[in-house]
Each structure stands twice: as structure tokens, then as C-alpha cells.
């Protein structure tokens, strides 16, 4: 039941935010903050009290589970389940959600209530994605988060040129994800009906479909349907077109959520659905996926170097980083997948921080164009240093979580695909190039205008300290995190490795 509340609370909070607008401008902010902190607190309590070594076996497959029938006609259930990975990601959602509320504290001054409604709906949808186990329910949440995100971008985005660009960006975001989502729906339905023909049971249940007997010719296409849906969201080149625009136009909170959480739903989906449902096909597909990952790493990095807009730069950098995640997921190595999880968490922190920083910068100098910056190191206290920290994190500086994630990915992948690792490693250099280019253009060089700008206030400082602390904490001692997810990752890796055998007799 607590799982159900985890999903419901953000939605209820969102409604309340909308309503509370009449009580004053601050009310929605506080309510939203409280809601997200609640989610965070619940997940932390679950984390602290959970025993992560015991689940994952047949006896107790999930840490927490809740299922009630929803649409019995099709065997659709509201089936929520929590394991280590979900828990980590939900905690992340709560944390970044709170950050998103905080970072828009001063940025959003119009239609505050409705803004927070959308924000919380997105987050509620994301929590749903991380918890849903029934395939249709998963798809439902997958789609539900799009609409409010669309509003966030379209209504509160940065109006670069008059109005239209942000709407275009939002539309593009929506269409990309929706199109891929429909493919996933088709794939889900195909899977369900194939299972129905072979077993006579119509169900969308994860457990049942895990053992579905799918003819070979069809299973590859179904797998591809899932993969494309996740690939668009991750995003994998060439499906990345929505991301830079969406990031560039979204309000800070939107970017934080997009980069910090929404992209992670894709990797989560791969780990939870695409691979366990189709281990053999995934294995066969792995070379392609890895190649796409490598292309993403390099291509994203090259494009990041060419950007003038800070947020676009970070967006392309995200594409590059997610390439590592893709490689890891399809390497099938436990170490790499664990690394991918660390990298996801790390990327959530660092990209969120960078977006928040660029938002703070925008509040101060009202531009995101790096050609109009320069020499800010002397003009703004503290923030440049923080920026450098997170850029260092983003380029994979050891001691930060990003380093650990990337390196675990590469260590884990090297055994099975050394060539991929060699090429992907070039991403380490390229990452350094774009990160430092940004530093160079923004904070180094001549001051374009004289005069000191305001330093961070307590809110901004607090957010940054928390993010720095977490980045370092995960970077230096990720073991608690890894222990949490180990029971989830190991079976996936085993499944992947044992892919060809499985068809024979494991089930």
C-alpha cells in the first residue's frame, strides 16, 4: 500500500498546489517541497529499513509488492513492486524533485500553482514508472509524465524568440517520446497476444510474460519495439533530436527533471523490461546497441563542443554520458550494469547541478549564450568554483560518482567488448574538452562587463552543497548503493550471459 501512496501523493500534492494558489504565492512552493520531501523521506526510510540481500530469489522476489486487479478483462493489474533499483531511483526522484522545486523558487513567478501541479505530476508519473510491474501500467505511467512535462516546457520555457520555439521544442519532445511509446505499446500488445496464443491466458503481468514463449522471428521485432522506446528516451543517437531543444527551452526545474530523472526511466526500462524479457535477442542485439552507445558518446561530445548555449551544451553532454549507460546495459556484465546505475545517479546529480547553475547564471546575467559571457570567475563568488566542480564531475574526475560510474562501465565492458571500450574511452578526452570549454568560455577570460554580481543565497548554496556532498559520497563510497541494487543486477547479468541457454531449458 505504501507503494501506492508513493505514487498518489505527488498527484494529490499537485492538485493541492493548484488549489493553493489562492492562499498565496508561496503556498504551492511549500506544498510541492513537502510532497517531494515526503517521497524522499519514505524512500530513505525504506532504504534504511530494507534488507537488500534477501530479495530477488524465488521466495521473495521483491522488497515490497502490491497488486490489485485493475482491468480483469485483459488481466491488467495495478501491480507495484519495489526492489533496490526502484528504490534508488525513487529516492533520486524525491531528491531531484525537491531540488526542482527549490531551484524554481524565484525563477517561476507566473501561474505558480499550475506550474507545481505539472511538476508534481511529472514526478508522480516517474515514480509510477519505477514501481509499475504490470506492462500496461508501466506504459501508462510512461506516457502520463509526458503531458505535464510538455506543459512545463511549453508554458514556462525560456522564450528565446517570440513564444514559438519553446512550444516547438515541447511538441518535439512530446512527439518523439509518444511515437516511441506507441511502438512500445504495439510491442507490449504483441507480446501479450503471443503469450495468449501459446498459453491461453491473457495477462500483462511481468512475471507471466517473462516466461512467454515467443517465436523467434517475432521476438526480435518486439524487443526492438521496447528498445526504440527506451532509446528515444535515453536518448540514443539518432533519436536524440528532442533533447537539446527540450533542455534549452525548458525552465530550470524542467531541465533538472528531464536530465536527472526522465532519462533514467529509459535505462530503468531497459534493465527491467527489455533485457529480462528478451535476453537472447538482447544479446544478439548487443553489438548494435553498443555501437549506438559509442556513436552517442562521440557524437554527443563533438556536438557539445560546438554549442553556444550552455544548456544545449549540457544536453549534448547528457547524450554522451547516456551512451556509457547504453553500453553498460548491453554489456551484460554485472560490474558494468552496476556502473551504469552509479553513472545514472551521478549524472542525475551533476547534470541537475549544472542546469541549476546555468539557471542561476541566467538569473544574474540574463543570457545563456556563452559568447556573451566570460570572466565571470571574478564577478560571482562561489558559483564558478561549484561549476568547475560539477564540470570536473561531468568529465569523470575521480572521487566523483561520475568517474566511478564510467570506469565501472568500462572495466565491466572491457572483457566482452574491448574495442567498444577503447573507442568509448575517447569520450573521456572529449568530455574533458567540452566541459573545460564551457569553463573557459563562461568563467575564464576577460570580463565582458564590470561589476560584482550577487553570490548564492542560502537556498542556492544549500542545494549546491547537498549535490556536491552526494556526488562525492557516492564517488568515494558507493558500496551502500551497490549493495542495494546488487540483488537486482545480478539476475539480469546472469540472464544476459545465459541467454542462449535459457531457451533450452532454464525455464
Amino acid at each position: 500500500m505504501i507503494l501506492f501512496w508513493l505514487i498518489l501523493i505527488p498527484f494529490l500534492g499537485g492538485m493541492l498546489c493548484w488549489h493553493s494558489e489562492r492562499w498565496g504565492e508561496q503556498a504551492p512552493r511549500w506544498i510541492a517541497l513537502a510532497t517531494m520531501l515526503f517521497v524522499l523521506a519514505v524512500s530513505v526510510v525504506l532504504w534504511a529499513g530494507g534488507d537488500f540481500s534477501a530479495y530477488g530469489t524465488g521466495e521473495r522476489p521483491w522488497l515490497l509488492e502490491w497488486r490489485v486487479p485493475w482491468i480483469p478483462r485483459f488481466g491488467i493489474e495495478i501491480h507495484l513492486a519495489l526492489d533496490g533499483l526502484s528504490l534508488i531511483l525513487i529516492a533520486l526522484t524525491g531528491f531531484l524533485g525537491a531540488l526542482a522545486v527549490l531551484c524554481s523558487w524565484k525563477e517561476i513567478v507566473e501561474r505558480v500553482g499550475f506550474f507545481h501541479l505539472n511538476l508534481l505530476f511529472v514526478l508522480g508519473g516517474v515514480v509510477g514508472v519505477f514501481l509499475a510491474l504490470d506492462l500496461l501500467l508501466f506504459f501508462l505511467f510512461w506516457e502520463v509524465m509526458l503531458v505535464p512535462m510538455y506543459f512545463l516546457i511549453a508554458l514556462w520555457g525560456h522564450s528565446g524568440s517570440p513564444g514559438q520555439t519553446r512550444i516547438r521544442a515541447a511538441t518535439r519532445f512530446f512527439i518523439y517520446t509518444q511515437a516511441s511509446g506507441l511502438l512500445m505499446l504495439v510491442a507490449i500488445l504483441a507480446l501479450v497476444f503471443v503469450h495468449y496464443t501459446s498459453s491461453g491466458e491473457i495477462t500483462f503481468s511481468y512475471d507471466a510474460l517473462l516466461n512467454a514463449d515467443v517465436p523467434d522471428n517475432l521476438s526480435f521485432w518486439i524487443m526492438l519495439g521496447f528498445f526504440i522506446a527506451f532509446a528515444v528516451k535515453l536518448p540514443v543517437v539518432p533519436f536524440h533530436g528532442w533533447l537539446p531543444d527540450a533542455h534549452a527551452q525548458a525552465p530550470t526545474a524542467g531541465s533538472v527533471d528531464l536530465a536527472g530523472i526522465l532519462l533514467k526511466t529509459a535505462a530503468y526500462g531497459m534493465l527491467r523490461f527489455a533485457i529480462p524479457l528478451f535476453p537472447e535477442q538482447s544479446q544478439a542485439f548487443a553489438p548494435v546497441a553498443m555501437a549506438l552507445g559509442v556513436v552517442g558518446i562521440i557524437y554527443g561530445a563533438v556536438l557539445a563542443c560546438g554549442q553556444q548555449d550552455i544548456k544545449r551544451l549540457i544536453a549534448y553532454a547528457s547524450i554522451s554520458h547516456m551512451g556509457f549507460v547504453l553500453i553498460a546495459v548491453y554489456s551484460g556484465s554485472e560490474l558494468a550494469i552496476q556502473g551504469a546505475i552509479v553513472l545514472m545517479v551521478a549524472h542525475a546529480f551533476s547534470s541537475a547541478a549544472l542546469f541549476i547553475l546555468s539557471g542561476q547564471l541566467f538569473e544574474r546575467i540574463h543570457t545563456r549564450d556563452m559568447r556573451r559571457m566570460g570572466g565571470l570567475w571574478g564577478r560571482i563568488p562561489v558559483l564558478p568554483g561549484v561549476t568547475l566542480f560539477f564540470l570536473a564531475a561531468s568529465l569523470g574526475m575521480p572521487a566523483t560518482a561520475n568517474f566511478l560510474g564510467e570506469f565501472m562501465v568500462l572495466f565491466g565492458t572491457f572483457r566482452s567488448a574491448p574495442v567498444v571500450v577503447v573507442i568509448a574511452s575517447a569520450g573521456l578526452v572529449l568530455g574533458a574538452i567540452y566541459s573545460l570549454l564551457m569553463m573557459q568560455r563562461v568563467h575564464f577570460g576577460r570580463e565582458q562587463q564590470p561589476g560584482l554580481l550577487a553570490g548564492p543565497d542560502v537556498r542556492e548554496y544549500g542545494m549546491m552543497l547537498a549535490l556536491i556532498g552526494l556526488t562525492l559520497a557516492v564517488g568515494l563510497n558507493p558500496q551502500p548503493l551497490l549493495d542495494t541494487t546488487a540483488s537486482m543486477v545480478r539476475p539480469v547479468a546472469d540472464l544476459f550471459m545465459a541467454g542462449p541457454v535459457r531457451a533450452g531449458g532454464m525455464n
Binding site: 510538455y150 511549453a154 513564444g163
Partner: protein, 480 residues
């Protein structure tokens, strides 16, 4: 010959028809807008209430059939009619001229639709279809003093009559070949290899019905009539007319095996694909909301044709779910249009610019329109999602991958313009044109809109009772 039991089965139709007569008498005696509306609404409600009774009676009047499909169709027709009647009152309040005839025409149209969904004979099919269309000419052109309404009326009349001629000729061909007009007998008569006459007749029939469904290439009247017609009339077109005609098409295909021939199915597939793509592509940049909904309906009928092509046990259920979700969403959209415009202010407020920033002065209307658009787009948590779910499921089950692809691509294109509408509602920029003020409409309208909004949401979140109901009806229809 009609027996008493048959009359019970015909009860809804009879009630609606007598209400029409009552309204006519009322008009002759003394004109009263509110009274007429009240009589209409209560007549329709009574008919709806009599449905369970009618369905319980084992009636089989000649030329008609009362099976699950008919019951489903009747219910949908009556619900739509009820909604339109309720909304018309406020809409027509500002109309200068006689208003009562509109209700009379509406009731006639509903009668036709009720007959259509239950027709088991080409004669009933034909006369009901005409009974459905004839009042619509009047309703579309009701406000004939505005140019658009007149234009829409003329276009609809002429093209519809031409389509009727095609339909009739098709029927005549089939009749000439088989000597039967009754569907079941006809089906028996054409058993065996498809004959060119039958195929030709079926194709011509398809032209006639396709016109009413606005299937490409018989679609071109749709946007113009949607845009020009009075909003309630357009709503009838979009809901009652579409669903009744579709159900009868489905019945034809299910009953007569000739429609199951590969050639015709291929043809319908092609038309379906054309409609999906064409409708959506046409709507892309459409600045007029009613017109846009017209184009959108083309696409939706394209999706719905998948049901006809795939058939099978799931088809009826899919039809019910899809039609209802589509109708609810359409009612939501047109409800808002009706609420915002009114003939008192000349032409309908149908340009998108009328709706700019609607959210900021009437949030509930905007929310309803948003919900409707999302539902039409098939986004989860709205009714439309389950429609889309069903239709894709059906396509997948039937392994009609081309059609599934068409639905997916069509939906994606569709998103573009639905989103365009939605975002317009929320824009607030300096110097923007103020939308038409929300005229103080009556409580009935508000209640109707509220019910629609709640249904869209409820069907999106917990559709189980509805699905079970439809599945039950579909089961019943299959038995017959």
C-alpha cells in the same frame, strides 16, 4: 407483423418519434424554447431509460434486429442525443428566429439513428440513413442567414444526395443479383464465390456509407460542414451520425460474408490507411477548431475501420469502446465550442484564436477541452487511451502490421495538432485577443459538460464497468 413484444423492443424508437410529434404539436400550439428543450431532453432520457426494458424483451420486428450491437448503438445514440439536446438550449438561446424546430429535427435524426443501428434490412437501412441525414441538412443550415451555415448546408445536401444515389445503386445491384433485401437472407443468397455484381454493389454501398463516415476519398465535405454547420448540428454529425453509420457498416460486414472477401477487405484497408494519414495530415496547421475536429474525425474513422477489417471476437467490443471514447471526447470538444459560442454572436467561435488563454479565465472549460484533445490523441488516463489500446490490440491480434503502423504514425502526426490546440488554451501573452466571454449558461449545460469531463477521466482511469458492459453486449451480439 408487429406484435406487442415487438413494440416493446421498439420502445426507444417509438418514444423518440412520439417526442418528435409532441414537439411538432407543441410548436403548432405555442412556441416555447425552454419547454421544447425540456420535452426533448426528457423524451430522450425516457427512451434511454426504456432501453433495459426494450433489450430484455425478446422482440424481433420485421426488418429490424435488436441484438447487443443495436443495444450498444442505441445507448450511444441516445446518450449523444441527450447531450446535444441539453447543450442546444444554451446555444440557441441567442438565436434570432424560431428555435423549436431544431429540437424537432434533432429528434428526427435520433430516430433515424436508432433505426439505423437496429436495421436488418436494406430498406430500413436506407430509410433510416436518410432519416438521419435529412434533418441534418436542416440543422446544419439552420442558421441559414449566416453565410457559412448556408454554404455548409448546400454542400452537405448535394454531396450527401449524390452519395445516397451511390448507396442506392449499390443496393439495387445486390438486390438484382440476389433478390433479397433482408441482410440475413441476402447473406445466405450470396454465399459462395463473390460475384462481380455483389462486389460492385458492396463497393458502391461502401462509397455511400464511406461518405457519411468521411472516409478518404469521400471526405471532402467534412471540414466545410463541420466548420459551417451550427455547433450542435456538427456534434450530431460527429457523434450520432458517425457511430450509427459505422455500426451499420460493421453489421453489414459481419453478417454478409461477401464483405469478408479479400478484395473488399483490401480495399477497406487501403481506405483506412488513406484516412488515417490524410485526415491527420490535413489537420496539421488548421487554425479553425471545428474544421480541425472534422479532419480529426476522418483520421479516427480510419482507425476505426481496422475493426471492420480484422473482425473476430474482439471486434465488437473494440467498436463499442472506441466509439464511445471517441464520442465522449468529441462531445467534450464540441461542448466547449457550444458553450463558448452561440448563434446570438453570429458565427461560432471556432477559430483557435478564440480559445487563446481560455484557461486563465475559464479554467474548467479549458480543462475539459484539454481532456478532450488528450483523449482524441489517445493519451493515457483519458478515455481515448483505451480506445487506442483496443484498436491497436485488435490490429496486433489480427497481425495487420500495416494498419498498426498506420495507426501509430497517424497518432503521432495527430499529436502535433492536438497539442497545438491544447497549448493555445494556456498561452497568455500581452496584447492577445480576448476570447469570447463565457456567457452565463444554464445549469443543465454545466452539468452536461461536467458529466462528459468526468466520463473522460473515469473511462481513462477505471474503465472496467464500461468494458464489462460492452464486452457483455458484444458477447450477446455474437450469439445472435
Amino acid at each position: 407483423m408487429l406484435t406487442l413484444i415487438d413494440l416493446v423492443g421498439l420502445l426507444p424508437l417509438l418514444i423518440v418519434a412520439s417526442t418528435a410529434v409532441l414537439v411538432m404539436l407543441g410548436v403548432a400550439w405555442r412556441r416555447h424554447h425552454g419547454g421544447t428543450a425540456a420535452v426533448t431532453v426528457s423524451g430522450l432520457a425516457l427512451a434511454l431509460a426504456s432501453l433495459p426494458l426494450a433489450s430484455a424483451a425478446p422482440s424481433s420486428p420485421p426488418l429490424m434486429i435488436f441484438d447487443g450491437l443495436a443495444l450498444m448503438g442505441s445507448a450511444l445514440v441516445l446518450v449523444s442525443g441527450l447531450f446535444i439536446a441539453a447543450m442546444s438550449h444554451g446555444y440557441l438561446a441567442g438565436y434570432r428566429g424560431p428555435r423549436e424546430e431544431f429540437y424537432l429535427l434533432l429528434l428526427c435524426a435520433v430516430t433515424g439513428a436508432l433505426g439505423l443501428v437496429a436495421s436488418n434490412h436494406l430498406a430500413t437501412l436506407f430509410i433510416s440513413l436518410e432519416l438521419l441525414s435529412m434533418p441534418l441538412y436542416g440543422m446544419v443550415a439552420y442558421s441559414f442567414r449566416t453565410e457559412r451555415s448556408l454554404e455548409a448546408g448546400i454542400k452537405y445536401l448535394i454531396l450527401s444526395a449524390a452519395a445516397t444515389a451511390f448507396l442506392l445503386f449499390g443496393m439495387a445491384l445486390i438486390y438484382a443479383r440476389t433478390g433479397h433485401l433482408e441482410l440475413t437472407a441476402l447473406a445466405a443468397g450470396v454465399a459462395g464465390s463473390p460475384d462481380p455484381w455483389i462486389l460492385g454493389g458492396a463497393a458502391l454501398l461502401l462509397v455511400g456509407l464511406g461518405f457519411k463516415l468521411s472516409i478518404i476519398p469521400f471526405h471532402q465535405w467534412t471540414p466545410d460542414v463541420y466548420q459551417g454547420g451550427l455547433a450542435p448540428a456538427t456534434t450530431v454529425l460527429a457523434t450520432v451520425s458517425k457511430l450509427a453509420v459505422f455500426l451499420v457498416l460493421l453489421r453489414l460486414v459481419l453478417v454478409a460474408p461477401v464483405f469478408g472477401s479479400g478484395w473488399l477487405l483490401g480495399l477497406i484497408s487501403l481506405l483506412a490507411l488513406l484516412s488515417m494519414f490524410g485526415g491527420n495530415l490535413l489537420a496539421l496547421f488548421q487554425p479553425d477548431l471545428k474544421r480541425l475536429l472534422g479532419y480529426s474525425s476522418i483520421a479516427h474513422m480510419g482507425y476505426l475501420l481496422v475493426v471492420v477489417i480484422v473482425g473476430g471476437p474482439l471486434a465488437l467490443e473494440t467498436t463499442g469502446v472506441y466509439l464511445f471514447t471517441y464520442i465522449v471526447a468529441t462531445m467534450g470538444a464540441f461542448g466547449v465550442i457550444m458553450h463558448v459560442s452561440g448563434t446570438g454572436s453570429g458565427e461560432d467561435a471556432s477559430g483557435l484564436h478564440h480559445y487563446r488563454g481560455l484557461f486563465w479565465h475559464s479554467p474548467w472549460l479549458a480543462a475539459l477541452l484539454t481532456l478532450s484533445m488528450l483523449s482524441l490523441a489517445g493519451i493515457p488516463l483519458t478515455a481515448g487511451f483505451f480506445g487506442k489500446f483496443y484498436i491497436i490490440a485488435l490490429g496486433v491480434e489480427g497481425s495487420r502490421w500495416w494498419l498498426v503502423g498506420g495507426i501509430v504514425i497517424g497518432s503521432v502526426i495527430g499529436l502535433f495538432y492536438y497539442l497545438r490546440v491544447i497549448v493555445t488554451l494556456y498561452l497568455r501573452e500581452p496584447g492577445m485577443q480576448q476570447a469570447v466571454a463565457d456567457a452565463g449558461r444554464g445549469r443543465v449545460e454545466k452539468l452536461a459538460l461536467l458529466i462528459v469531463a468526468v466520463s473522460i477521466l473515469l473511462l481513462g482511469i477505471y474503465p472496467v464497468p464500461f468494458i464489462d458492459w460492452v464486452a457483455g453486449l458484444a458477447w450477446a451480439a455474437r450469439l445472435l
